[in-house]
Amino acid sequence: MVTVGAETSSLRVREVTKSFRPPGNGAASRLALDSISLSIAAGELVAIIGPSGCGKSTLLRLIAGLDTPDSGEITIGFEQISGPSAERGLVFQDPNLFPWLTVRRNIEAGLVARGVLQEKRDEVQKFMELVGLDGFADAYPHHLSGGMAQRVALARALINHPKVLLLDEPLGALDAFTRMRMQDEVLHLWRGGRAERAVRVRPEIVSEKLLRLWQSRRTTMSLVTHDIDEAIYMSDRIMVMSPRPGRIEWTIPVELDRPRDRSSADFLRLRAEILEHLHFAGKSASGNNGS
């Protein structure tokens, strides 16, 4: 399963703590993440779920290098991260496309930023085809639907071939139908366009050449979501976070064959199990709040 050299794209978070000082008054800083540890194997897709405010976004921002932890360390492969870099892509719920650039230029942005547009220009076209945006190259972002905008954001993040792709509720703003279709597309991107999957997802856009291009690439992914079905449908493992201070409370492996059937008995059993757990967790959390 794990390709050669892929262990360099494993992700490890060790005892990371992060607190924020509330703005304004000189009140004590509040712990957002308390000594959190987790690891994601190379090429693994891990979903992180948890109530809002429990520190999921904070965790992803730390991994992306946009913020620095108060203590603890984060490593990709054997390297400790020290700041943002093209090897860790981040896609937010809001696609955050640059409105002044066309779709094509948005996708190129990562290459321009690294000064490699000249060498990699043909990749732009491949990525546009891969995410099905071929006909929209010269459209500006405000002409795109939410799903299409998020595809552009994914292509923009993936064009740098990041070792780790961090997804912060990327499909959260989409309607249910678009979301389910996009889940398949994200999986397709993650799996590097494996044939059976790819053909099922978008037979019209996936050429043999593209498949080969993607064959060897499988991105380590961390997907934050508030949709339990999405977590079960997509991930290899689900991590449940608890709030105040944020920590990983529970990890559930999802050992279902892909492509997964959202209405299979196993799927539903897992779903019931998680719901039950969350319900219990919710109760205890509110009890803590009261005291």
Binding site: S85, A86, L90, V112
Partner: protein, 346 residues
């Protein structure tokens, strides 16, 4: 039957919800204009009326106001030619539908003006010449007027371009770097609001030539709004745009030139417009008190000789000159900000 046919697309449009209003707003005036082709004759009719007024008023001294005759005849001819050609060119048609009413009103206003001035002599004469007299002065003194316009243009461009360049640089620096903002903002807040024209006495003393000092004053007038709006645009760049750029490996130069500046462009253009307005004011004041050339100087010089026809001629040229520059800047903005929702056209 026509009702039923019209209702169908109407309903289709209404189904688009929000777009229905805009679409109707666009379609309705065009439709009414099409059903009343006589709007096309407004300009020739207005020109005819103005010609009649002019003839009636100057019938005892037919040599006066030849240029005004010529002008009105040209307008009349152009109006008729337009009316004859309009069925063949859709671009022309649209333009004429839009402009003929306002253009006709302007011509009628000229006629009214002539009635009030040389006709009824309601206004004291040297100060309020007739349109014919103004056109005469404009054409008789065309050499000097052209020269003055040219000088004004050069002066304005020197000052404006300098002010914009310095303003953009200081605006980006103040907007981007918090330490530059710490030192620069107070200077900007205290020095900026002083009208550039207030520096005229000082500028005349320190600078080697009035031309240099005037250009510098214009630059100063432009600098303030450009800096202010650029700085606020840059510092209000959405943090998430910068975060996204960082996650794909952007260095600081990319963040400034490819993210912050494009994001600030709408603001920067507001600064450019404000700066252009300020530059007109400063130009005219600087020319009338200092430099011995340009339209501002021409106005005060002609006024000194009580040649009010020339004063108005210069004002008319100024109006055309300044509004052309404004229009040009609008065009540039429409091209640069084509990505903005409001002003996109395709």
């Amino acid at each position: 039957m026509t009702n039923a046919l019209e209702e169908l697309p109407q309903r289709a449009v209404a189904a688009n919800g929000h777009r229905a209003g805009a679409e109707n707003g666009l379609v309705a005036p065009a439709a009414t204009a099409k059903s009343r082709p006589h709007t096309l004759l407004l300009v020739p009719v207005a020109a005819g009326i103005a010609l009649a007024i002019h003839f009636f008023i100057t019938r005892h001294q037919l040599s006066a106001g030849q240029y005004y005759w010529l002008f009105l005849f040209i307008v009349l001819g152009a109006g008729l030619v337009g009316a004859a050609l309009y069925p063949f060119f859709s671009g022309l048609r649209e333009r004429m539908h839009n402009l003929s009413a306002i253009f006709a009103a302007a011509i009628l206003l000229l006629g009214l003006w002539e009635v009030i001035t040389s006709g009824l002599r309601l206004l004291p004469l040297p100060y309020f010449p007739s349109p014919a007299a103004i056109l005469d002065s404009m054409i008789n003194d065309r050499g000097l007027l052209f020269d003055s316009t040219w000088h004004s243009l050069m002066m304005l461009m020197n000052g404006y371009v300098l002010g914009v360049i310095v303003g953009l640089i200081s605006g980006v620096c103040i907007g981007w770097s918090s330490s530059i903002r710490y030192w620069g903002m107070p200077v900007l807040k205290i020095v900026g609001p002083i009208p550039a024209t207030a520096w005229i006495p000082l500028a005349m003393v320190i600078s080697p030539s009035t031309a240099v000092s005037s250009a510098a004053l214009i630059a100063l007038a432009v600098w303030f709004p450009v800096t202010m709006l650029t700085a606020s645009g840059i510092s209000n760049t959405r943090a998430s745009y910068l975060d996204v750029a960082r996650t794909f490996g952007a260095k600081e130069s990319y963040l400034i030139f490819r993210v912050a500046i494009p994001a600030a462009m709408p603001n920067i253009f507001i600064g450019l417009f404000m700066g252009l307005g300020a530059s007109f004011l400063t130009l005219v004041v600087a020319e009338s008190v200092g430099v011995k050339s340009g339209l501002g100087w021409y106005v005060s010089w002609a006024q000194g000789w009580a040649e009010y026809g020339k004063v108005y001629a210069a004002l008319v040229i100024m109006a055309g000159f300044f509004s052309s520059l404004m229009t040009l800047l609008f065009k540039v903005r429409d091209i640069v900000l084509v990505w903005q929702k409001g002003i996109i056209k395709w």
